[in-house]
Symmetry: D2
Subunit: 327 residues, 4 copies
Amino acid sequence: MRKITRVGVFTSGGDAPGMNAAIRAVVRTALHNDKKVTGIYHGYQGMIDNTMFDMESKSVSSIIQKGGTVLKTARCMEFKTAEGRAKAYENVRAAGIDALVAIGGDGTFTGAEIFSREFDIPVMCIPGTIDNDLNGTDLTIGYDTANNTVIEAIDKIRDTAASHNRLFFIEVMGRDSGCIALNAGIAGGAEAILLPEKDTAIDELIEMLAHAADRNKSSMIVIVAEGDKNGGANNVAKRVHEKFGYYDTKVSILGHLQRGGAPSSADRVLATRMGYAAVNELLKGNTRATIGIRGSEMVTTPLEEALSKKELKLNEDLVEIAKIMAL
Amino acid sequence: MRKITRVGVFTSGGDAPGMNAAIRAVVRTALHNDKKVTGIYHGYQGMIDNTMFDMESKSVSSIIQKGGTVLKTARCMEFKTAEGRAKAYENVRAAGIDALVAIGGDGTFTGAEIFSREFDIPVMCIPGTIDNDLNGTDLTIGYDTANNTVIEAIDKIRDTAASHNRLFFIEVMGRDSGCIALNAGIAGGAEAILLPEKDTAIDELIEMLAHAADRNKSSMIVIVAEGDKNGGANNVAKRVHEKFGYYDTKVSILGHLQRGGAPSSADRVLATRMGYAAVNELLKGNTRATIGIRGSEMVTTPLEEALSKKELKLNEDLVEIAKIMAL
Amino acid sequence: MRKITRVGVFTSGGDAPGMNAAIRAVVRTALHNDKKVTGIYHGYQGMIDNTMFDMESKSVSSIIQKGGTVLKTARCMEFKTAEGRAKAYENVRAAGIDALVAIGGDGTFTGAEIFSREFDIPVMCIPGTIDNDLNGTDLTIGYDTANNTVIEAIDKIRDTAASHNRLFFIEVMGRDSGCIALNAGIAGGAEAILLPEKDTAIDELIEMLAHAADRNKSSMIVIVAEGDKNGGANNVAKRVHEKFGYYDTKVSILGHLQRGGAPSSADRVLATRMGYAAVNELLKGNTRATIGIRGSEMVTTPLEEALSKKELKLNEDLVEIAKIMAL
Amino acid sequence: MRKITRVGVFTSGGDAPGMNAAIRAVVRTALHNDKKVTGIYHGYQGMIDNTMFDMESKSVSSIIQKGGTVLKTARCMEFKTAEGRAKAYENVRAAGIDALVAIGGDGTFTGAEIFSREFDIPVMCIPGTIDNDLNGTDLTIGYDTANNTVIEAIDKIRDTAASHNRLFFIEVMGRDSGCIALNAGIAGGAEAILLPEKDTAIDELIEMLAHAADRNKSSMIVIVAEGDKNGGANNVAKRVHEKFGYYDTKVSILGHLQRGGAPSSADRVLATRMGYAAVNELLKGNTRATIGIRGSEMVTTPLEEALSKKELKLNEDLVEIAKIMAL
């Protein structure tokens, strides 16, 4: 087993609340084990551009409560080329880094897997994305916070919807994953939910709403995942509109505010546990894997496995429950 | 002076956080003065449809902290006709109501003024709208809460913007009034603000952003009022986009969540004072006027005057300050 | 198997955010299965006082986002007597209730177990308490919300602590359970945590703080669980005070605000799942058990078992992690 | 008129949310006028200890949304001595500072007044304290945020109080000033409020509560200002307790969380305006004065005047309104 003296840490891809807590845990766990730590700005881009710096315990003071990532993040085209990665490796080695912790999503994991194989450098991944669409873990960092942000927005919209007898279509994030939509739909008390994983025909939706309208609901809210097959909240609203003259129809696209905000307690603790586990796994000789949580246990999954399959996160029971609750 | 024995209260037009606190204050102040109170649902529509009910102190328990309006609101076409108003008056008289408190915006005030003149019934208005665009008052109910809602959203967006070196265009409410945009721009630390009251050319905006970009800002936020002459955030973003390749450009339209939420402390107190003043003014014989606050004093302005002019709310000093702060 | 036609539902003991979501799920799941529902006010007291009412789908509209419990709660001495329970059963039968869902904590479960045995009535329990100290489940309803409430308070206190170089002792709820304290300590970035399950000597605490002070921390926060053996935050602060003259020492006892607030997304979803499962289990013939969640699966545990042992909830890894993070 | 080339800025006394926005405005307004800026850590202590640093526009990036003060604050005994002030002045002059902006409360103003006279250095004060107890201004920085923090806590406590039929005594900040208590009492819908400015006998309080209890209120909340003559919430609760057996009595002392948190929109804008005005006044030759807001106008008041009298902030109308609303 290779001896590790310096760990590099970076965030890559879309940011998610709680990434800072993970960074902090990586830094402090490494220092606690007498390892040195290098922070890399802007993900893979920062390896190529050599924007790195030595991190101490103080470097991560008072960041646990902050949204975003203090190490910044980026999507990096150059790293997809062999030349880009070679340059990155050169800088990584020059900095004395002999193991990496990568925090991010699918793209981040893919980059990490290739880089680790090509240059035989130990790497451990931490799943950070609000979409909760990564394999090898029940939960990703940022998902819980995003759910809370979304329901706070829905609660606010419900206030005005109920005052006006309005029908709202609220679009939430999730291009391929309906996790946020489903959670927000249940927690926000939505009358219907459109998920990327399900083909809900507009006619079916109209029937559900008609059923709700029959019971004189003072307001109706439909949650539409970004990746819904019908083309998003605006399109759905247009097609539904004429059927519900009694209700004034409005659309709200929540957008990027779902990405920010102080991380929830659960995300801070999850991220801390994951950062701690990532360093410990590296020090035990584990590599090319992702940290995950299953129930309340920390686990690791080889990146190859995590990247090859598509784990279904959508809980079918919840889909059923959502319908019954809308009655 | 006519003796008042029963006060009718309703909310009309767009809802605003704090309206419930105003309703509560109207009810309890009237009861305290040994008057009876009738609540009217759905504004003027409810007068026509005769959806009214007797209110006691308990009717307004635990509503001060709730967004929206428990009396519901609506926009009513029928009330614009003489027949509609005649029917409304018939119901109002039948219910024994001999004075009205109307909570809402411009349209509400116009209806109240006509109704009061036509049927010689005392009426007092309370300014409730998040836009802060009514005459006769420094502040309207809901404006402070909306400002807080908007900056919470901006703070969240700033987290993700800063993590990605992004340029965000955030559209906030305000069709004719730039009050929210200006406040949010200053409080959110925006790099530029586009107001309906100002003609900001796209070229001028680009120059401001170029100036900010020169100083290596990690993120830039432009606040665009709904009523901006350039056609809203999407249009502005499209036109600015090509000039700022270094920054990833995103648009966020905050939408109706700005209307909801638990009212802020300031809005609850303002609404309580206005509800209290409205009833007291009616009991003193004042009529056909709107309640307002000037500095820390409660004032009244005749509706005729309040509706005839356009009071400029935009503070020019703040426009200047916003520019300097963005440096 | 006994045929169930009417389900009674009540909350008992300390309230917890998310109880309303559980009530809503019980009501709608029962109605969906063509059962009738009776709501019982004030827990066991309401059975004795016969304060019950028929619940429809509308009865639980717009309550999912509300803290507390719309069915109210109480601690009931009379129910501990055979006469009290006999009277309760008489009323329950007279109301046509042939199965019960009880939402609450240990005391609630004990009452349910006895009542169900004595009168052979099916009963299913749902764990609701912010303390997360019940057997048969990984998580109780309200715990996640309380954690978020606590870290929001800690974040605020950190602002002022850091501005003043202050040492704060923050007391959080948890008479027997350190779950909130441990979570809050990690998520709030505390320098030390005192748990009821651990005997932390004052000297040991002082050593930890001295170590932190050596690294010139601008502020220090110690989380003290209510049930800490040293006698609570005030006592601990007094004993520590003289050693840290450089730091101004303050105490904050968070108190009952930890019990309230809109439930988090996770608590709303958990409570909804538990309410749904409780009714389904009753309809399947299960009785005298508590609903729980293990990982992402819903489970049931016989009340006898849940009440006989003491499941340790405190995660020892987290205790270790908390120490390393404070470095 | 003396030419100013470098402005020193510091915060002193108790911290308040919005101080960072004021610092930011001072720095950017000064830079905009081609002045240099020195930040002084820990208030007057930092002048003596010479902990100062050059501030650029970047120094105040992304601080507008943060609670506390990035310049830290302290209470400084040494500055009360002539030697201390002489040492402070020496350092101030050595740093090239020829004008000062002091952000804080009464103690800060007193120090500024003496220092400015002794050493003939221009100084402008900005009122920052959550207590709203300073002369020369309608509002101080931090007061609005604290009011919002307090009502969020009260709303949470109301949830649990209402679920249990409880009587809560909530102690809020305000040693001499009842501003927070009065606002929070009205906005939180309290049944009674105890203010330092009023002598409310316990008997009178009991009578008010008895009156409320007669109307079967499901919960009662009494707001007690820290400086209430009866000795604080714990003492009041003890004395009231025996009279209200039906209600379970609880005490909650909100404490220092009232000091922190992200500043409200209104506080950010107020602080920005005050920081801007402070620098402009200095540049116009004004000195030894405090910035204030009256209605929507910025004003200045000589420190001598501001410190010599006691302006009554408590709005008597609000005291009356609070009583009527509790009916």
